[in-house]
Amino acid sequence: MIEVDGLTFHYDHSVVLDRLTFKIQSSEFVGIIGPNGAGKSTLLRVLGGLLKPQAGRVLIDGKELSSYPLGELARLVSFIPQETHFSLNFKVWDVVLQGRYPFLGFFKIETKKDIEAVQEALGKTRIDHLADKSILNLSSGERQLVVIARAIAQTSRILLLDEPTTFLDIHHQMEIMSLLKQLNDEGKTIVMVIHDLNLAALFTTRLILIDRGRIVAQGSPEEVISEDQIERVYQLKVTRIKHPARRLPQILLG
């Protein structure tokens, strides 16, 4: 469980996050939405321990985030950036194997258990066939799957993702979201920053709408994605409809 209390973060004089307070229960699938510059990515980085807030507390399983040693935190939380640039020529297998780093001993040698974790992660992401390919020769959709597979091999209970679908076509967007949904069903807590409101409405169990560093609304997609709320925050005329098959709110522009 993640508890955030009075979280404040600022760069010099510009406040990015202003006294945020919320909770995320275990095995929720939470989407953080809001316009550009609202502070979504900053919030996610604070939750991942990548940025240190100036005020307020973040508790993970009742313990202060900053009190976790980095290695222990890595076994609990994994962070997946929007895009991962690979400059060196590694095989997919080796990149996924990197997810086992927090579990390696002093001599940093992988055991049978690590190998099994990698095989399982490759299976879940359905990229077994890419295992021996170079990471440099993959499409961006495949690369994103590799990075998620690495996080699966990390076996942390909390997954933080920063707009994992932004650069992908609709097929890969759905593939990634369905995979995350499956991981969520298996018990992982998922928190993702996402721009695509329709995609968010289809998959998340709860949305947190942020504007200028403050929480404007939170609740089920049904509650958060309302015409006047979206229009106010994004300053844009929208029409809300119901997805004919899934009975979930969807947004049309104009």
Partner: protein, 302 residues
Amino acid sequence: MRAKVIVPLLGILSLIYIFLLPNPPSPVILKIRIFRLLLAIYTGVTLSVFGLFLQGALNNPLVEPYTLGIASGAALGVSIGILVGSALSINILAFLGAVTAATLVFFLARLSGRLLREGLILAGIIISFFASGVVFLLLVLNGRELHEIIYLLMGYLGRVPTRSSYLHLSLSSLIAGVSLFYIFFTTKALDIIATGYESAHSLGINVNRLLTRGFIIISLNVGLLVTQVGVIGFVGLIVPHLARLLVGDHHRPAFYASMFIGIGFILIADLLSRSLTTIELPVGVITSIFGAPFFIYLMIRR
């Protein structure tokens, strides 16, 4: 399997180095050459492995140990010491200069408010230029007394060994050995850093701590190295590239490869420096003049 080829090859190279070129030695010369061989091995291994570490930890293929301002600091330390008429030996002056410059680079990097990895490169370049500027100013103003600095700036393996230089070499080799051990255990972390600092952090790697420790270790070692052989550029830059080309991008195999290639590279460069012309050239001149076009070739090939 590669080791089976490389080790005998280096052995043969060493024998040529000691006995053959430029001509067979007398017993006294033999002693000098054996010392020179040891010095070359020490230089090749440390510069190459530290180059590999820095390129990995800073995620930048263009850095090498001398990028961090350490060498220029050493040169400045020596020139000031000579001009002031200090009683300290050149070795100690160079070491003090190197360590002072490194400390300055480190705190400048921290002060800049930037991320440590960007700050280090930037501060290293700034301090390098500044220190070199002052050295050249002193050279121009006091040309005669400072010919020793020119040797230091160019890198030279051929000093006649004394009892104290043996001691110096064994002590610094010991320190280098321990340091290499540390670097070896960071190789897996370096592989992960290559996929981004945020990913590395999320996998439990404290990048700032890694950089800080690495920087202290490298400053100390290169400070010791500079006092013995001066500035030998390009080795720490090219050898890691060659190693990755040969054994792939993973840092652990590249670590072994860098050590062996580093030794071979220095030995060949020093052989050339002794046999190309009738006078002996500083080995740093050879590594730079032959290194630059070679690096261009590698760049284009990739």
